[in-house]
């Protein structure tokens, strides 16, 4: 499963392409503690890649490395076959990597619409003067962005809350709005940090459907962290398993399910799952 050359085909007949993002021998330290110990794995065009593991396994840190928020002490990140120089997070975003956060990071002071519109910031070309004048370029651009955003709103079925301040939304909807914000950026790679944490069954089903639809409609590559094993096994094409900052498994859901190391790790932490 680690041949870097060609893709593969999934059971439901989706063609998975070449390696899009390749993490090689990543090591990340905070002061003394090693959050990530020499981990390598890749994410391929069009696949849904899951990162699982017990709490504190370093999953979120991994996403933070990908989105450039943490700079690993050792190892390299390869994006579309090119080695990535250490970038600032916003530069990573501009390369087409969007994400959501484990504990929702919406802009509480704004409406749902404005929050999602922030996802379009990277597409704004008009300068300050143009925006100050508004009429003309800025307004046109605003309208174009709004059109894109409205497609996303429609896609995620949140028309009814368009103009509501996010502060007033229930948890489940906030998660959805956050996904919308990420989608508005039309990312090539979408990172989801526990998209279903703290959701009830119904909400989880919706979210799973959305994730699949995103991957299906826009062909977006998705990397997600999730605790709910059932969900992971249903959604993902390949799974990376982490434990205490080390990679203990990597492969298709079935391969992983039958991987002894993984089983141990999970039994070991069954209580806090």
């Amino acid at each position: 499963m680690n041949d870097r050359q060609t893709g593969y085909v999934t059971e439901d007949g989706r063609q998975i392409g070449d390696v899009m993002l390749d993490l090689r021998d990543i090591t990340l330290r905070f002061g003394g503690v090693e959050a990530i110990k020499n981990i390598s794995f890749d994410i391929r065009e069009g696949e849904i890649r899951a990162i699982i593991g017990p709490n504190g396994a370093g999953k979120s840190s991994m996403l933070n490395v990908i989105s450039g928020f943490y700079v690993p002490q050792d190892g390299s990140v390869w994006f579309h076959g090119k080695k990535r120089a250490p970038l600032k997070p916003y530069q990573v975003a501009r390369q087409g990597i969007a994400r959501t956060f484990q504990n929702i990071a919406l802009f509480e002071g704004m409406t749902v619409l404005d929050n999602i519109m922030t996802g379009r910031l990277n597409y704004t070309k008009s300068g300050m003067i143009a925006q100050a004048i508004w009429k003309g370029k800025a307004e046109r651009e605003e309208t174009e962005n709004r059109e894109k955003v409205e497609r996303v709103i429609d896609f995620l079925e949140i028309q009814a809350i368009r103009k509501t301040p996010v502060g007033r939304l229930p948890y489940g909807l906030k998660k959805r709005v956050e996904l919308a914000r990420a989608l508005a950026a039309e990312p090539k790679l979408l990172l989801l940090d526990e998209p279903m944490a703290g959701m009830n069954v119904e909400e989880k089903e919706d979210m799973s459907r959305f994730i699949l639809d995103v991957n299906d409609e826009f062909g977006t590559t998705i990397a997600l962290i999730e605790h709910d094993m059932g969900v992971v096994m249903d959604l993902s094409d390949r799974v990376v398993v982490m434990d205490y900052g080390k990679k203990i498994g990597d492969g298709t859901p079935d391969e992983v399910r039958n991987n002894q190391a993984v089983i141990d790790a999970y039994l070991g932490v069954a209580h806090d799952e």
Binding site: F30, S60, N64, F69, F101, Q102, A105
Partner: protein, 331 residues
Amino acid sequence: MSADFLYGIEVVINGLMAGVMYALVALGFVLIFKASGIFNFAQGVMALFAALTLVGIMEGQVPFAHLINATFGTEIHHFGWHVPALLAIFLTVGVMVVFAWAVQRFLFRHLVGQEPIILFMATIGLAYFLEGVGDLMWGSDIKTLALGLPQGGARWLEDATAGLGGEDFYGFFIDKLDIVATGVAIVLVAGLIAFSQYTKHGRAMRAVADDHQAALSVGISLNFIWILVWSLAGFVALVAGIMWGAKSGVQFSLSLIALKALPVLMLGGFTSIPGAIVGGLIIGVGEKLFEFLIGPMVGGATENWFAYVLALLFLVFRPQGLFGEKIIERV
């Protein structure tokens, strides 16, 4: 040793002493910030208010005399008695405690859970209010604080050091008051540290500073602690007020020394008592030296801003301040 160098040293010494004063005011900030996360902008005005009150009580002024006269056309101003300094100080402390209670009861109890910035704004409002009240109660004219503290240069020191640098060096000129102030300040700081280390309330105070919820859960009354720290801050303010008041008269400008304490805090960090002290000394020495060396070339009066620029530049390179530990941001 060249005279200039010796004068330089004198400047440094004076700087150190001024620094102690800054530290003194800064301490007030730190106490409150540590315990309640409130950035108390009113600290300086508290110093002014405390000093005004002290003078007022000592000279037996009638509070709000001005207002009363204006309304009722009366002509009262003094009770005509004089209160001994020590008693007056005790009374003033009492006033500051009442003030602390009032602030807690009428302002911050209603602001629990607000963002820090709001609390900060509130203290600015408090500053205005207190300044106004101070003026209304005791009048806004400059007052001299006659506590009988030693004034003028310390002759013995001057004589002792004269001649070190040849005939054009007349020895170190250091204000006696500064020496006393330094002494008091050191005692006070030591006292505070001792208090927070070794007394029950002191430990409670630190507990609160570390973690409100935890403190609550072990049955510490936040309300009490907050009144306590405000009282302490008030006391510190009084001391600072006395020192500065004795030095340059009790007047509005006194409240501006608070601003001087701000860069000190930036250097030392808002939460560290040693930080406040070291920061104070650095600022004191820094601005005096800068004025001594660079001042003449740029027209002087650089103390007005040097402290801030210094702190600013410092922070740009070390955002967590002198004693703060590196912040790891998370998402």
